[in-house]
């Protein structure tokens, strides 16, 4: 191995070592994943399904009877999640800031 190659290898090693082990004081750890957050994700999924359903109905893809029953099912699901979210929010004594 010649001296140039050796120098390059040494430089790369030092650079790598510095980057890997020289950490800043503060680290990003991300938001905490809570049950509330999880339920909100679920609610969003159900809402998305409801919006899709509404859209498909207005596009004329299904008869009214189908629409009413599917919508009712999805609304029940959403209501269950909303009730649980409301309960947890109240328990955490947070202000219900998500009401629109």
């Amino acid at each position: 191995m010649n001296i140039d190659a050796f120098l390059i290898c040494a430089l790369v090693t030092v650079g790598t070592y510095y980057y890997v082990f020289h950490l800043p004081g503060r680290l990003y750890l991300g938001p905490e994943k809570t049950r509330l957050g999880y339920l909100r994700e679920r609610k969003e999924a159900v809402y998305e399904n409801l919006r899709d359903l509404n859209f498909e109905y207005s596009a004329g893809k299904m008869p009214e009877a189908d629409y009413v029953s599917l919508k009712s099912n999805l609304q029940d699901e959403a209501a269950t999640l909303l009730a649980e979210i409301a309960r947890l929010e109240a328990k955490a004594q947070q202000t219900p800031d998500r009401k629109r």
Partner: protein, 168 residues
Amino acid sequence: MHKIVNMNKLNPTLRRTLQCVILCSAVFAFLGAGDPASRFSDIGHQLMCICGCHQVLLECNHVGCPDSDSMRNELMASITRGDSDSLIQQAFVQKYGPTVLAAPTTTGFNRTAWIVPFVALALGLVSVSAVVRAWKNRPAPAIADGIKPPRGVELEQFREQARKDTEL
């Protein structure tokens, strides 16, 4: 309740049509092969070149192939002699070994090559049907680790909220 499609009602007609289609196509498939040129092309596409190029005999094009020309001539000779398809294939297998056939035969162990895909399809259909039936009959799972749905006024209130939130 809703009218759900009853597949059984559709079945007899559908089945009969399908049977007709399959029968017709099978019959005409056999009628197709006739003149020497199309027989040459048909059989030639069922044989492989044995020089190691892994190509179908009539598609082997690599320059200076030591085998494909003579194989094609042999094939043409057998067709002009009027040999039957199976006789020609047998002659090739005897001369070049079983790898000369581009697809497994339908005899002996080689039959499994053809049967297994259909067995897999059948098994797949049976298991998907079983899964569908099992999933239809199982109790509705609880939403998000067993939350109880709200009742009465509360239910209506939240349903209304969901409706408002998702209006287009």
